[in-house]
């Protein structure tokens, strides 16, 4: 049993080795091997997701409770009805083209209406949860933190400076994004124009700096991914008899 698992591990590693090379071959230009590997990746991923959803969600959380009678209306039959109406409405729209689009039969209109209702439910719940989450998890805590940063009595001396810098850079960036000097500043007095121009200049540099920081960390992240794949390849090569022979020379 253990030896068969080892064999499968070895086969899997070599398949991964070949597919890694196939994907890397896209660097030399679009070719059949790279496209084949991408098709296999997408197909295998979708198939795996379908099996996983069936075995870990649909069967144990919906079908089995319904068969055993443990599921109630709200946590069993209602989800089943909503899912079925969405699937049937989608299948009808995809596979059965109506002969007369202006006057579909009543059952078809009801089916499409039920599908729209489920879609509206999904979208509404997702958007509602997203907006509430953004408010309670990001907007309000971050605003409170920014507002309090300079007014904490026990804070170290540099913190008010940080707060001031945050305020200046945030407003400068917003001004840079929303203010057009040629339109909004032309008729302003010279002093105001100079001050605003400096502020806009600062906002532009702040954006460049932020973009640079994000890009630098992004490059480091992608470099780590590349290193992981390359080390996988080199580890496979190191395990071969050919490499052992090369080292013995």
């Amino acid at each position: 049993m253990q030896s068969s698992a080892l064999v499968f591990d070895t086969i899997g590693a070599w398949v991964a080795f070949v597919f890694t090379l196939m994907v890397f071959s896209a660097l030399a230009g679009d070719n059949a091997l790279a496209r084949l590997s991408q098709h296999i990746l997408v197909g295998a991923s979708l198939g795996y997701a379908a099996v996983l959803a069936t075995r870990h969600v649909i069967l144990p959380r919906l079908v089995d409770p319904l068969i055993s009678g443990e599921a109630g209306i709200l946590d069993g039959w209602l989800p089943l009805g909503l899912a079925a109406s969405l699937i049937l409405a989608g299948a009808d729209r995809i596979m059965l083209r109506p002969a007369k689009p202006n006057a579909p039969p009543i059952w078809r209109r009801l089916l499409h209406g039920a599908g729209r209702l489920v879609t509206a439910l999904l979208l509404g719940i997702g958007l509602g949860a997203g907006i509430m989450g953004a408010l309670q998890g990001t907007l309000i805590p971050q605003y409170l933190r920014a507002a309090q940063i300079g007014f904490v009595p026990s804070a170290p001396g540099y913190l008010p400076l940080v707060g001031l810098l945050t305020l200046v850079l945030t407003t400068a960036t917003l001004l840079h994004l929303y203010l057009d000097p040629s339109r909004h500043l032309d008729r302003q007095p010279g002093a105001v124009r100079g001050l605003m121009a400096s502020w806009l200049w600062l906002g532009q540099r702040a954006m460049w700096l932020a973009a640079g920081v994000i890009f630098a960390r992004l490059a480091a992240s992608r470099l780590s991914l590349l290193i992981a794949r390359v080390t996988f390849l080199t580890d496979m090569i190191h395990d071969t008899a050919f490499w052992t022979w090369l080292q013995s020379l």
Binding site: L27, A49, R217, L218, A220, S221, S224, V230
Partner: protein, 446 residues
């Protein structure tokens, strides 16, 4: 087919067009208008007859017959009813509507079509949406614009696309020359800089990774957990990001195992549970090897790993009803939540959907790219610790090795640091050489 050919350039236009789409010639001259009405009237009668029950009318000599497809094209399939009065949607339609005609010889037009309709993530052949010119005989010669150099055309487009500057014509900027990045050479240099040191197992150069704040806090929070602490883990990465995230997650999972924390793992990604099981097993083997534990002693300890579809909205359910998620009789309130996320949004989703509900301290283990976006959450105290990228993993591993001497320092992380330095050196070299080339290259001609 109800099309009207332009008397000037020969382009087929939709019936009823006032002007030619190609050259602008007026098409509604008196005699043409009469002919057009003669052609349209039978079709209208046919549609009215088709709306009533009864046998379909026979084609009259005046009825415009569908044009035969050219030999190179397949016969037109039966079109849905809704396309009867929209002939320009059919493949055999020979006119141009508003898009330029598709030219088989023009690769750039084909590439633009592929970009417009790229299929599924660019993997499948695109659906052809542009109309195809069907010519009965030799296509009429189209008026050609004079040959304009590409650089001048780019300048014209740039200026036409910019808002007009009135009274300040002298401020028109000059376009910088487009950089020639020579990407294949950059890829080759980067690949060799990683491949050769990895193949030859070079130990140098080996700089010290940056020490970002948040790593030590994460370590202290886990170190301060009581024995048998209940830890809820949100696993938000799959094999696509495992190359980077595995190295960052491994020391944290090892530490949790060492603290005898009881982990419950939930993932919203199909590939998440398998990735979690694989890494936890790897960490368990490392830990058992370092502490000389037998596998039998720990075999009864099963870490539940659950997959939940439904997106970020499910996280609120995880926070409120963990016993239903993990099918447990009773699930105690977690002492800590750990998010292993490839993107900043994964951590943000947990902080927005779950953390306000269960008020549990949160530690984030993320990719390096997510660090700048998550840093404000650590500053505001919403995150109790932040470990990001290979440098965060390296520092966490160093803390583990310093304070828990029985755990060995990971050799894989040491190799990662060396290779990362090689890659960064290539980046640095490319930036320096690119700037020098830009400084000393000949300025573009006005």
């Amino acid at each position: 087919m109800s099309v009207v050919r332009c008397p000037h350039c020969g382009t087929a236009n939709r019936a009823g067009s006032n002007f030619c789409n190609s050259c602008g010639t007026e098409l509604r001259a008196a005699e043409e208008r009469a002919a057009d009405e003669r052609a349209v009237e039978p079709r209208r009668q046919e549609e009215e007859t088709a709306a009533e029950p009864g046998p379909p009318p026979a084609a009259t000599p005046e009825t415009p017959q569908p044009k035969e497809p050219s030999p190179g094209l397949p016969a037109a399939p039966q079109q849905p009813h809704g396309l009867a009065d929209q002939p320009w949607l059919r493949m055999e339609f020979g006119g141009v509507d508003s898009a330029p005609p598709f030219d088989e010889e023009d690769d750039s037009a084909r590439a633009a079509t592929a970009r417009l309709a790229p299929g599924i993530q660019g993997l499948l052949a695109p659906v052809r949406v542009t109309v195809r010119r069907v010519d009965d005989d030799e296509p009429p010669a189209r008026p050609r614009s004079p040959d304009i150099p590409a650089e001048q055309m780019r300048l014209v487009r740039q200026r036409m696309g910019s808002p007009p500057i009135l009274g300040q014509a002298e401020q028109l900027w000059s376009l910088p020359a487009s950089p020639n990045l020579r990407l294949p050479w950059l890829f080759l240099a980067l690949g060799l800089a990683i491949l050769l040191p990895a193949l030859l197992a070079l130990p140098l150069p080996r700089g010290a990774p940056a020490q970002w704040p948040g790593v030590e806090d994460a370590f202290d929070v886990i170190q301060g957990l009581p024995a048998q602490a209940n830890v809820l883990v949100y696993w938000a990465y799959d094999p696509a990001a495992a190359g980077e995230l595995d190295e960052a997650a491994l020391p944290v999972v090892e530490h949790l195992l060492q603290r005898r924390a009881r982990m419950s793992v939930v993932s919203l990604l199909p590939g998440g549970p398998a990735t979690a099981r694989r890494l936890i097993e790897r960490a368990r083997l490392e830990w058992q090897r370092s502490e000389n534990l037998t596998a039998a002693a720990e075999s009864a300890w099963v870490i539940p790993v659950q997959y939940l579809p439904g997106g970020a909205a499910m996280l609120a359910h995880v926070a409120q009803n963990p016993e239903r998620v993990f099918d447990a009789e009773q699930q105690e309130r977690p002492d800590l939540a750990v998010v292993f996320g490839a993107q900043a949004e994964d951590v943000q989703h947990w902080l927005e959907q779950a953390a306000p509900l269960n008020r549990t301290p949160v530690i984030a283990v993320t990719s390096a790219a997510a660090d700048p976006i998550l840093r404000p959450y650590w500053n505001s105290g919403q995150l109790s610790g932040l470990v990001s990228g290979f440098d965060g993993a390296y520092n966490y591993q160093s803390l583990l090795a310093d304070r828990l001497p029985r755990l060995e320092r990971s050799a894989a992380l040491d190799r990662q640091v060396v290779l990362q330095d090689w890659g960064l050196a290539i980046f640095f070299l490319a930036i320096v050489l690119g700037n020098l080339a830009a400084m000393f290259s000949r300025p573009p001609e006005p």
